[in-house]
């Protein structure tokens, strides 16, 4: 029987909205809360790469930020390896790390300086950290002459690799990847994807990957959930999803076709609609 690494049970998260009315505020009917994650439940098995596929604004990043302990759920529970993310926050923090779409570093500092800071926060001794940082950066294909130069002088792809090194160096058993390849060049994208697979295969990590890159989800993930307007509309292996999306006119659907089939709209349309709803609220 497979062990559950993450159990998300009926979780709800909304933002904004106010019961108070002040003269300068918009009328109450225009200030309804925006539901970002709407009663989502899912289970991620240990050592699995689980993908969450959705348009921008579908709730993917909110889900990741909830699991990262950066948000507190309005309702529902999340446990990570049996630890509740609210009641056992510090234990949970030690188990996970995250790579977000923005590399998020002190840009004036070098990769080594940024990574020393990150590893010390996780209690890793300086001598060990210094040795591991150089080894991991080399493993990610970063030239040694870049190690001590400010990060602002590096390309976005390189910065994202340093972000992956930051997560890897703290030895997380759960790695949360929030669109880690968005905006990267094809070569960097492949490097990152290869590293994610190595993390799972060689280091026994469990990975939650959010993306709106259908090909990436198809290639990397053991199972995929499609998230639309904060709700999971379907979950299964990539082949199961494609199989379920088969129609007479589309006998061999791609993941993009599967997304359209389950959400009733293309990724571009979904993103456009989410954006319009965001502006309206």
């Amino acid at each position: 029987m497979k062990t559950d690494a993450v159990v998300v049970d009926d979780i709800l998260k909304s933002f904004g909205g106010s019961k108070l009315r002040f003269g300068w505020r918009k009328p109450a009917e225009q200030r309804k809360p925006v539901v970002a994650v709407d009663h989502v439940s899912l289970r991620i098995h240990k050592n699995e790469i689980y993908g969450v596929l959705g348009a921008n604004g579908s709730g993917k990043s909110t889900l990741i930020r909830l699991l990262s302990t950066l948000l507190v759920p309005d309702a529902g529970t999340v446990t990570i390896f049996g630890h509740d993310i609210v009641r056992e926050e510090r234990t949970v923090k030690r188990l996970l790390n995250r790579v977000s779409v923005e590399a998020s570093f002190f840009k004036k500092l070098s990769p080594v300086e940024n990574l020393m800071y990150a590893t010390r926060l996780y209690g890793i001794p300086g001598v060990q950290a210094r040795r591991d940082i150089r080894r991991v950066l080399e493993m990610l294909g970063i030239a040694p002459d870049r190690f001590d130069r400010p990060l602002e002088q590096m390309s976005r792809g390189m910065q994202q690799k340093v972000a992956i090194a930051r997560a890897f160096l703290t030895a997380p058993v759960l790695l949360l990847l929030d669109e880690p390849t968005t905006g990267l060049d094809p070569r960097s994208k492949l490097d990152v994807q290869d590293f994610v697979l190595r993390l799972r295969n060689d280091h026994d990590a469990t990975v939650l990957l959010t993306t709106h890159d259908m090909g990436e989800a198809d290639a990397l993930c053991d199972r995929i959930a499609i998230l639309d307007r904060g709700r999971i509309v379907v979950e299964g292996t990539p082949s199961e999803l494609r199989m379920q999306a088969r129609t007479a006119t589309q006998p061999d659907p791609s993941m993009e076709d599967a997304f359209m089939y389950f959400t009733g709209r293309s990724l571009e349309d979904a993103e456009q609609e989410e954006q319009e709803e965001k502006v309206a609220s």
Binding site: F15, T62, R65, S68, T69, L70, L71, V72, D74, F81, R90, T91, K93, R94, L95, L96, N97, R98, S100, E102, S104, F105, F106, K107, K108, L109, E113, M116, Y117, A118, R120, L121, Y122, G123, I124, P125, G126, P150, R166, T170, A171, V173
Partner: protein, 273 residues
């Protein structure tokens, strides 16, 4: 499943040092700005001191009085800013989420930032003092240096408490918090007797002066440097500073933790800028 580096005192010490090392690295990388601010502080301090020198009577005492005011304020401002701006600064750099995801206590976070600011503040003030001494003669013949050091240490604790309380504002107010901490700093400058005795303030400002730890800090430094008073005579100055520190540091950390939870409920714990 094993937890790597489980929580211990050692991991908290290492984590605390992370903030010291990071801030030192940032100081080195922004050396141009550091130099610019240093030169600006020398210029503004000298401007104030020369106002004292221009007064005809008892100018040496006035110069020392104003010199202490400028140096102590430069120190207090450095400590206050580095604590109160740690949130807005991380928001701006975009690292706030990663720092708050780290498995460390908020006290460790605060103390690490505070440790750097105190050590750096003391060194910077010593350099400022040396620079000012090149331009004006300061009569230090009666100075009780150990007494002054005690005032600096105890006074720094009280100012840390104020800084931690102020650091809550950028957590609550994503956009305006940094502006609010700047205003607090301005009010402290006005009411704490940096360049004049608080007796010249209007009556309604006097209570503000009495609750400002900077008032007691400055008074303690002036009593030890100008009058050479011993620590044993400094009870009326040290006691308020000590009480302020003992109350405000734990209270500040508690308020900060509550504000952090609120920020996590409302989604405000994120980058800005």
């Amino acid at each position: 499943m094993t937890i790597v580096n489980p929580p211990s005192v050692m991991t908290e010490v290492r984590a605390s040092y992370a903030f010291v090392e990071r801030n030192w690295n940032l100081t080195k990388r922004y050396w141009g700005w550091e130099l610019a601010f240093f030169l600006y502080t020398i210029a503004s301090s000298l401007s104030v001191i020369y106002i004292g020198k221009a007064q005809g009577t008892n100018q040496d005492a006035l110069v020392l009085y104003l010199g202490i005011g400028t140096l102590v304020w430069a120190y207090l401002r450095a400590v206050f800013d580095s604590i109160s701006e740690m949130i807005s600064w991380e928001r701006w750099e975009g690292t706030i989420e990663y720092t708050f995801m780290a498995p460390i206590s908020r006290l460790t976070h605060m103390l690490g930032s505070a440790l750097f600011s105190i050590v750096y503040g003391v060194l910077r003030t010593a350099l400022l003092f040396a620079a000012l001494a090149l331009f004006v003669d300061l009569d230090l013949s009666r100075t009780n240096y150990w007494g002054a050091l005690v005032v600096v240490l105890i006074g720094s604790l009280s100012f840390l408490g104020v800084g931690i309380m102020a650091a809550v504002l950028p957590l609550w107010f994503t956009e305006r918090g940094a502006e609010m901490t700047f205003m607090i700093s301005a009010i402290l400058l006005l009411v704490s007797g940096v360049y004049y005795p608080i007796s010249v303030l209007p009556g309604w400002m006097q209570p503000l002066a009495r609750i400002s730890p900077a008032t007691y800090f400055l008074e303690g430094i002036r009593q030890t440097v100008i009058q050479g008073r011993s620590v044993l005579d400094l009870g009326p100055v040290l006691l308020p500073l000590l009480i302020t520190g003992i109350i405000l540091i734990p209270l500040g950390v508690w308020v900060f933790t509550q504000a952090e939870h609120w920020a996590k409920r409302t989604g405000r714990l994120k980058r800005n800028g």
